[in-house]
């Protein structure tokens, strides 16, 4: 009896036991991807199923685009084995695709279809797409203006800040004169200079460049300085016994040793200079994304504001990504740095 039931159990149980995990494995591997596909189909349907409560021209195209994304998600998931690293990337991001599809569906329904959210203030996704397609030239002009202003000011501020920081950290005499000035002016928010800057500088563009450079320069100076000051004397001793001259001590010992600090300063400077950029554009410069935001508000063009905000956040995030990439290249010798 016992032998019989044992062999019976083995014979009938084995295939079932091996099939069930197969399904479970497939679900675990591909379930999220398929779910992402469903989420985007839901978004596409939500666009096309009901009539819009307002007059938007891109609703249909958006619905089609959602289906295309759903199809890509589905085929990408099913064919992940043949797609190599692209399939891997999709697999990793599938949960986010699900969340995004669901969010867009809710947003679409809550705004364009039933207007649960008060309408002019909460535009539907298709209204924002419309801005990107129909107002592209003006938006691009603003993007380039912002990048130009930001890049110029940031590079000037970072360079001056770095040089000042190294000088204070290295030379007692420079420190004696610059340190009090730094303490007095540095903590002041750069935006406080706005009114003065705009009428003392020849153009609003040069005034804004100055303010952005100021906002960048302070943290870069302080952190470069503290980096140089905290370099261990043992490094200098080693270099000196090997025949190093003062220029070598600065360029090949102090600066490389201080570089991790410098990058913290550059990171902080980037953040505070973004703030100055937007304010300067809103108040004085008649170009750039800050100005675009201001202009859109004046016309109650809320979709344009959201569109500009999204672009702005992509730009800021991109700038920080770039900075981190440069840092990772220069500081490969450091172990365990933060990944952005």
């Amino acid at each position: 009896m016992s032998t019989y039931s044992l062999s019976d159990g083995l014979a009938s149980g084995a295939p079932r036991a091996s099939r069930a995990p197969l399904l479970a494995t497939w679900l675990r591997e591909s379930g999220v991807g398929v779910l992402a596909s469903f989420a985007w189909i839901a978004f596409g349907l939500s666009c096309l199923w009901w009539q819009d409560v307002g007059d938007w021209s891109r609703t249909h195209s958006l619905g089609i685009a959602a289906f295309v994304i759903a199809a890509i998600a589905l085929f990408g998931t099913v064919g992940a084995d043949y797609l190599g690293s692209a399939g891997q990337a999709l697999h990793k991001r599938a949960p986010w695709l699900v969340a995004l599809g669901a969010f867009l569906t809710v947003w679409e329904v809550a705004t364009a279809k039933f207007a649960w959210l008060p309408l002019p203030f909460f535009p539907p996704p298709q209204a924002i797409i419309e801005v990107y397609t129909d107002d592209l030239p003006k938006l691009l002009d603003s993007v380039f203006a912002s990048i130009k202003l930001q890049l110029g000011g940031y590079l000037i501020g970072a360079t001056i800040g770095f040089l000042t920081g190294v000088s204070i950290g290295w030379s007692r005499a420079v420190g004696y004169w610059v340190h009090p000035v730094l303490r007095f002016i540095g903590p002041l928010p750069a935006t406080a200079w706005l009114p003065i800057a705009f009428f003392t500088f020849p153009s609003s563009w040069s005034a804004s460049t100055f303010l952005i450079a100021l906002a960048t320069g302070f943290p870069v100076t302080v952190l470069t300085w503290s980096g140089v000051a905290s370099v261990s004397n043992a490094y200098y001793d080693v270099a000196r016994t090997l025949g190093a001259k003062p220029s070598f001590l600065v360029l090949k010992v102090a600066i490389p040793a201080a570089l991790p600090h410098v990058f913290v300063g550059l990171f902080m400077g980037l953040g505070s200079s973004f703030a100055v950029l937007v304010v300067a554009e809103m108040i004085g410069v008649k170009a750039g994304l800050g100005w675009y935001l201001q202009w859109a508000q004046g016309w109650a063009a809320y979709a344009n504001m959201y569109a500009a905000l999204i672009v702005m956040s992509l730009l800021c995030s991109g700038a920080i990504t770039l900075l981190f990439a440069i840092r990772d290249r220069l500081l490969v010798w450091q172990k365990g740095t933060v990944k952005w």
Partner: protein, 265 residues
């Protein structure tokens, strides 16, 4: 004991420099209070000699080495390398510190190249860096960064970084102090063979009497702070030396006695 120049120095007459420490005294200022560290220290080192400095911790050995290196100036007395006054650091006198103090932002090769680069002769002398790395057996780690090395390897890189300059005086401040005993014994042997091949004058601070006796021609024992020369002992034994050598054991007992440790050791 008879003061004979070691055989190794004779085979390399020009490689090592003579070092004269003449009535050197030094003191530090700590919160306005003077802390005497060296008191009338006179040591004359022959070219190519291997001298070990032993003394209680904190007595002033590292301070003396910094003076020899030219990193600090003595409060009184003179230091001379081949008759010339020592006033500032020079690559003919290179220090290996207790911590390897490799530059973490430079690869192993670039760390070893430091001296030649600082003197502006790296471009024409790159092979010397390769040779120095070969010498310490780390050629395959040339592209590694310091954080990827073990303690013993890092200390060997520090040694290569010193040797690449072909120093006339090699100054070693407890360079093996932090290593495990196995690595330590291996590196002691490497050190002796390097010294025998290159013939530089060597000044080694150690807290280990046995290490001093296995390596040096001459052991100088310091008193408590402020350091005075308490004994100057010649070790006339051929290399390689054996730790069990009764002659060395006898010297060791003598030295430990000088350092205030009981004869039971």
């Amino acid at each position: 004991m008879v003061a004979t120049a070691p055989a190794e120095a004779v085979t390399h007459p020009a490689a090592g420099a003579e070092l004269d420490i003449e009535q050197v005294s030094h003191a530090f200022d700590i919160d306005g209070i003077e802390l005497p560290v060296l008191s009338d220290v006179s040591i004359s080192v022959e070219p190519g000699e291997f001298v070990a400095l032993l003394g209680p911790s904190g007595c002033g050995k590292s301070t003396l080495l910094r003076l020899v290196a030219g990193l600090d100036k003595p409060k009184a007395g003179r230091l001379r390398e081949d008759e010339a006054r020592i006033r500032s650091p020079h690559p003919s006198r290179v220090v290996v510190f207790q911590d390897p103090t490799l530059f973490p932002w430079r690869s192993v090769w670039d760390n070893v190249a430091l001296g030649l680069e600082a003197q502006g002769i790296l471009r024409s002398q790159r092979h010397r860096v390769d040779d120095a790395l070969d010498l310490v057996g780390l050629s395959s780690f040339r592209n590694a960064y310091p954080h990827q090395l073990s303690g013993g390897m890092a200390q060997r890189v520090a040694l290569a970084r010193a040797l690449v300059n072909d120093p006339k005086i090699l100054i070693l401040d407890e360079p093996l102090g932090k290593l495990d005993s196995l690595t330590r014994i291996t590196m002691q042997a490497e050190l002796v063979s390097l010294w025998q091949r290159k013939g530089f004058t060597t000044l080694l601070v150690t807290h280990d009497a046995e290490e001093a006796l296995v390596l040096a021609n001459r052991v100088i024992v310091f008193s408590d702070r402020p350091a005075r020369v308490k004994a100057d002992i010649r070790v006339d034994r051929p290399y390689p030396r054996h730790r069990g050598d009764p002659y060395l054991a006898d010297l060791r007992r003598q030295i430990l006695g000088l350092l205030g440790l009981d004869a039971t050791w």
